[in-house]
Amino acid sequence: MDFPVIKASGYILVHTPNILKEGGSTQTTTRAKNPDDEYLKKLDDYLRSFEEVVSYAPNQAYIGNILPDELKNIKQPWYEEQNFVEGNRYGDSGEIMPEDEFYALIKHVDVFDLVKLSSDFIAEVESKVAEHPILKEMEIELGEGEKKSELEALLDNQAEPLYLNEELVGCVKKAHESDVNLNAHTILENLVAKASAVLSLKNMAVKNDIDLTEIDYVLECSEEACGDINQRGGGNFAKAIAEMAGCVNANGSDVRSFCAAPSHAVVNAAALVKAGIYDNVVVVAGGSVAKLGMNGKDHIKKEMPVLEDTLGGFAVLISNNDGASPVIRTDIIGRHKVGTGSSPQAVISSLVTDPLDENNLGIKDIDKYSVEMQNPEVTKPAGAGDVPESNYKMIAALGVKRGDLERKELMDFVKEHGMPGFAPTQGHIPSGVPFIGPAAKMMREGQIEKAMIIGKGSLFLGRMTNLFDGVSFVIEKNSGVKKQENSVSDKEIKNMIAGAMRQMADNLLGETE
């Protein structure tokens, strides 16, 4: 059987401490209750610098400069200076962008003139844009900019501010007089999701030498909704992103399922390619403003930096088998079904052991499992524990119950088949997909053969169902054998055989004559 492949991937982070302060849901709800809240006053003292974010080991793992497993050898807490790693803002798979460059990108992706930047800021950031390897190719026109007084007037008219080092450098205007779906905050969230997705897609293309004009279809899988009062989730971020990234031959659509969406999207993309409908399908998602600083109160309580200061984004290209890139085993798909139930045991069975059983594989046949790869330094202080480790323990415990492994092997399994969490807690972003890039690298280097990517989603948050959701798929090292196109048809073969037999008969006749 021939399978589609993971042709390329890109991973980006954007350091956005000011958007965190202004737009993160924990901060906005706290401010609405009490603008003088102690937490808001303290926040500045606990925010990290760009350099600190770049030197933070999990971030270097996310953009592909170190493998997730290498985090095991780096002392924790990773956020303490003595445990910083050599930081490079550019990575093998992507980059970490500072907030000022990102403001320029938000302005660039805004096609409705809703983002206004100050002329002073534009004068400063233009040189950075001109030097950035990707932005400089994007023909970014920032215009002349606004006077500060003009920005302040817009803030009085419900625009969302864009700050940099305490300085007002721009704003995002509301896009409608009264429609809450188009208010300034929603537009900011959506433009941020769009801009960070474009950056992910561009990085994927540049780092892997992909021509974006060859992309046929884009599936966007974030957790944002764009629309207006009459169609709140009207959608198609995908096409808006494709347009900005230069995918002129692409169409697209959005896939939603909370944090499970990226896995659904990759499975859908693989199906489109395998069916022959499209040759090159991109799965892409940008970051979430709301989740910035989500656990900030707990972090400050524990006297540690507010670590949820980066937006995350990713892009993955699924294409026809090239005989080299990791294949997506479309015959090993795990699904959380409506009737599965929501106990962890039922969920893990449906996503992990059911698809393996159907293919006569054991739990240990998968070299690495990628689950919800949230960085544990973010979640543990907030009482949510080490999420990846809990998932690995659950998979191992299920293995013990089934007899795949001995009880005493449980923690060894966690160590060998798992990895430390390294992704920002941006909901859909940590959900299985961050390991696609590292897995491809490990397969190239012969370290692993098979990896299972698991996406899970909390559908009940939308109050439409109490159900949970999840999808899993297996990626595997390419055997190097591409399915040969039937270059010779059956009819031609018959003709060739007939020809050979005729020739033999002629020879025999010749011999008897």
């Binding site: 139930g341 962890p344 045991q345 893990i348 009482g383 809990s390 323990k393 659950m394 415990a397 119950k401």
Partner: protein
């Protein structure tokens, strides 16, 4: 504890009477389970939700506690919960929940 859930529990207690309600927790962590138990017995300790200052005194157990486990069909428990028993720090959870139940629950 989730504010929405606090309201739901408060409404159920108002409707059926606190003495007729048992809260069964499924939290994966001792601290969080203890917090939930404290909330439905002595009120929301974070003073953020509808149960702030409302000591309902409900009976409250974690699903892995023997009192509840013994009530569940063995096969169902094996299918749904036994895997998690291997993963969770059951002793710590039981200890934590029990502490708050014994201290604040009026319907043990």
């Amino acid at each position: 504890m989730d504010l929405e859930n606090q309201q739901r529990i408060k409404d159920l207690a108002d409707k059926h009477g606190a003495e007729n309600l048992v809260v069964i927790l499924g939290g994966a962590e001792a601290e969080a389970s203890g917090l939930a138990c404290e909330t439905v017995t002595n009120g929301d300790p974070t003073f953020a939700g509808p149960l702030a200052g409302v000591p309902l005194g409900l009976a409250c157990y974690h699903v892995v506690e023997p009192e509840i486990k013994s009530e569940i069909d063995d096969q169902v428990y094996d299918d749904q919960i036994s895997m998690m028993e291997m993963v969770l720090d059951v002793d710590a959870i039981v200890e934590e929940v029990k502490t708050y139940r014994e201290k604040y629950s009026e319907y043990k």
